[in-house]
């Protein structure tokens, strides 16, 4: 479970004439991770794609282009189609005929779009010219005159050019428009004069004699309306084509992609004149099945030879030929744990020679999340959301997030009920019974004018004793508290977080030790990680003794002799451990690394106090929101309780409007806390795995095991016989 699956290397050789059958057989066994052939001096070269591949890839290009034109994406949901039907349609030339149909419609649409663009440009010009109120035919047809028509930035109405007639108009928002009729020989002077006004020439549309721009505009508008109507019709026919060919296109896309992929396999294989040779990694447990499967399909035309089963020692991989040195990683996790592989892959794929941290993430991520959220009220929506996500989504990434939320929610419920005793940031129990069985509220309770709202106060009813006894209790001077108050038992929560950190880190260091042990040997592991582990425990003992001594606040013995000398013993032990650990570390990794590691331990352990800090931050927000919404908005009244104390209780007879406002506001504010809990709780729980745990032992940079296998989502084999082909042996 911890290490990736053991891998073996095999060689498959066969006759080149049956290459295509062989590729089908490779795909059908589904467990061959091909090792790419690199041309060497062994007289073998790289193969060339199968003959049908080029046609298939040409068709694939056409299909993808059509999908793009018709707006068919990965997210478009279409009906699944049978592989046999798709193959039949492809060989009957359906791709080409559909392409003709689609291209025709697309061309028609594109032509219309272009036409509308042109008409709009013409319309704009006419609108500009309309301001000069000259008929369109007057702008052209002169022998000795040049006509300059255009827009200007500055106001051209005062413009006068010698030997020229100027028509101009200027509006502040639209800018200026000017038409200059000038003798051809003075045209340059006119152009130079116009340039100062920011002149930009426009095209004057041709028109019959006497046609004014306004009349021409009417005609253009009518043309645009007609073209738009035709464009709508063209779009409708494209939509019809889209729904008609959608499933065919997606099915063909998938089938052709598989065909092209299969056809390119020879590029990864060594070939000679009459034969091919392929190296591949196969999970050790499947070697025999793969061999049997290939021989059954290809008979005497294939020869499979087992080469080696690769061990976990680094030396083995270094000794191997370069292209065989990296072994693909196939993570070996159970059904539930494997859902968390996404989290591991966010950092890197584990190496073949190291522990796969997925199982540790699967245990600790939800646990930490639950510890930080620690509230039954927030836990229930997390569980529901997680369960809903698991039911709805098939996507690997989302499933792992949903699963983390689900288990995180369960842990949050457990912590919320049995540890913190909280629901929506409010403790269940807000008081205690005294020796004679009379009920007293805690000092900070709203009943006595404090800020802490609790459920028994809201209900006006104490919970039974067995319920209170489920939670840990803490004796305070003012009475017993049930449940860990996140803002009360701060010291306890901090210490607990540190202890959790020590356990988590120790697991990390032990995994590191184990990695080195399987990669090298016991001696190597001892020098690489053993010293570090001894120093780690030495540092913990050192800090423990130091904290004890500090808390005892000095004296002649510096507080070391408190606890009857235990502190002193621990202190001496810690110094010895630190000395031994650092000594081994210096021999193993050098002085720099070994000494630098010592202060780092402190940082790593203290990093876990965020577990307490985030729990506290949420409790602080909830305390404020609950007090505002319930303590301040909901109407209350003062009564004298059984013990004779004057207390505040909710007034059930008061105006209900306040109750509704209070509850709505409460719901909204808790939604805010809940959303923040996903971010802070989830991200920090993940961070503790990535940074504190995984950097202790994880190298990563592995390559994923990717066997030759058909992945079909949109197509299926309709007959049972054909289905056997895709089964994994």
């Amino acid at each position: 479970m911890l290490l990736p699956e053991s891998m073996s290397r095999i060689v498959v050789a066969g006759t080149k004439s049956r290459m295509e059958d062989a590729i089908d057989a490779f795909y059908s066994v589904g467990s061959l991770h091909v090792i790419d052939h690199t041309t060497g001096d062994d007289g073998l070269s790289i193969g060339s794609p199968t003959p049908s591949t080029s046609k298939a890839s040409e068709r694939l290009l056409k299909v993808r282009a059509m999908e793009k034109e018709l707006g068919i994406t990965n997210k478009t949901s279409t009906a699944d189609v049978a592989v046999e039907d798709v193959r039949k349609q492809i060989s009957a030339g359906d791709v080409e005929s559909v392409e003709r149909e689609v291209l025709e419609a697309v061309d028609a649409r594109n032509d219309l779009t272009q036409k509308i663009t042109e008409l709009n440009a013409r319309k704009q010009n006419l609108e500009t010219l309309e301001r000069l109120s000259l008929p369109l035919d007057l702008y052209s047809g002169y022998n000795s005159l040049a006509v300059l028509v255009g827009t200007t930035v500055a106001d051209p109405t005062a413009l006068s050019i010698e030997g020229a007639e100027v028509f101009a108009d200027y509006r502040k928002k639209k800018g200026g428009v000017v038409a200059v009729f000038v003798r051809k020989e003075s045209a340059d002077n006119a152009a130079a004069a116009l340039a100062d006004y920011g002149f930009a020439e426009i095209q004057v549309p041709q028109g019959p004699k006497g046609l004014t721009p306004a009349e021409a505009l009417k005609k253009v508008d009518a043309d645009i309306a007609a073209a738009t109507e035709r464009l709508e019709a063209a779009n409708t026919s494209l939509d019809a084509l889209r729904s008609k060919h959608m499933s065919f296109l997606k099915g063909t896309d998938e089938e052709l992609a598989i065909e092209v992929e299969k056809g390119s396999v020879p590029l990864r294989v060594a070939v000679s004149r009459y034969s091919y040779v392929m190296d591949a990694w196969v999970p050790t447990a499947k070697v025999d099945a793969v061999k049997a499967g290939l021989e059954q399909k290809l008979g005497d035309d294939v020869y499979v030879e087992f080469q080696e089963t690769r061990g976990r020692k680094l030396a083995d991989s270094e000794a191997a030929e370069p292209r065989f040195s990296k072994v693909p990683t196939r993570q070996k996790n159970g059904k539930i744990v494997s859902e968390f592989e996404y989290a591991t892959s966010l950092v890197s794929i584990p190496r073949y020679q190291e522990i796969d941290p997925t199982v540790l993430i699967a245990i600790f991520l939800p646990l930490f999340f639950g510890y930080m959220v620690g509230d039954l009220g927030y836990a229930i929506p997390f569980i529901i959301l997680g369960a809903y996500g698991l039911k709805k989504t098939r996507h690997k990434d989302w499933r792992s997030i949903a699963l983390a939320l689900f288990f995180g929610g369960i842990w949050a419920a457990i912590f919320g009920l049995f540890f913190y005793g909280e629901f929506l940031g409010m403790h269940f129990i807000g008081g205690h019974y005294d020796d004679v069985g009379a009920w007293h509220w805690h000092e900070d309770s709203v009943a006595l004018g404090g800020t802490s709202v609790t459920w028994d106060w809201i209900f006006g009813q104490q919970f039974p004793e067995w319920f209170a006894n489920m939670m840990p209790s803490f004796d305070h001077a003012a009475g017993t508290h049930h449940g860990v108050g996140k803002l009360v038992e701060v010291g306890f929560l901090l210490k607990l977080a540190v202890y959790i950190g020590i356990v988590h880190l120790a697991i990390g260091y032990l995994c590191g030790f184990y990695n080195h042990m399987i990669q090298e040997n016991g001696r190597g592991a001892f020098f690489a990680k053993g010293g570090l582990i001894i120093s780690f425990f030495g540092m913990i003992a050192f800090c423990y003794a130091l904290t004890n001594a500090m808390m005892a606040s000095g004296g002649a013995d510096w507080g070391l002799l408190t606890d009857g000398g235990t502190t002193c013993v621990v202190f001496i032990l810690s110094i010895i451990l630190l000395a031994i650990g650092t000594g081994i570390g210096i021999k193993g990794e050098g002085a720099m690394g070994a000494i630098m590691a010592l202060p780092e331990f402190l940082g790593q352990i203290l990093s876990y106090t965020r577990l307490a800090a985030i729990a506290m931050s949420k409790a602080g927000m909830a305390l404020a929101f609950n007090y505002i919404c319930i303590g301040m908005i909901l109407p209350t009244m003062a009564v004298i309780d059984a013990a004779g104390d004057t207390i505040t209780v909710l007034d059930p007879t008061a105006n209900i409007a306040f109750t509704i406002i209070g509850i709505l506001l409460l719901a909204f504010l808790h939604l805010v806390i809940w959303t923040l809990a996903i971010l802070s709780g989830g991200l920090h729980a993940l961070r503790l795995q990535f940074v504190e745990l995984m950097t202790r032992f994880f190298d990563g940079n592995g390559i994923a095991f990717s066997p030759l296998r058909e992945i079909r989502k949109k197509t299926f084999f309709s007959s049972k016989n054909a289905n056997i082909d895709t089964q994994e042996v």
Partner: protein, 80 residues
């Protein structure tokens, strides 16, 4: 603030200021460190989204500093 015999007891106030400074200054320091790393990390993730996990590790490294500040603040208020 408690006034006893004309002398104001500001101990609690000083503790609160100390705790605030511990978290606040540590937070500013962490923010300055994370600013550059964050910008670079987003750049890297835009290029190659598979770098998310590794970027996140570097991104949150300076956070330890603010945790130190937090521990000191909590100890100042609740433990001492």
């Amino acid at each position: 603030m408690v006034v006893t015999e004309g002398v104001a007891d500001v101990t609690n106030g000083l503790i609160a200021i100390g705790a605030g400074l511990a978290v606040g200054l540590a937070g500013v320091g962490t923010g300055m460190a994370e600013k550059d790393i964050g910008a670079a990390a987003i750049g890297a993730i835009t290029e190659d989204s598979s770098l998310f996990g590794r970027s996140m590790i570097f991104m949150v490294l300076p956070e330890t500093v603010v945790i130190f500040g937090l521990v000191i603040a909590i100890m100042a208020i609740f433990v001492m």
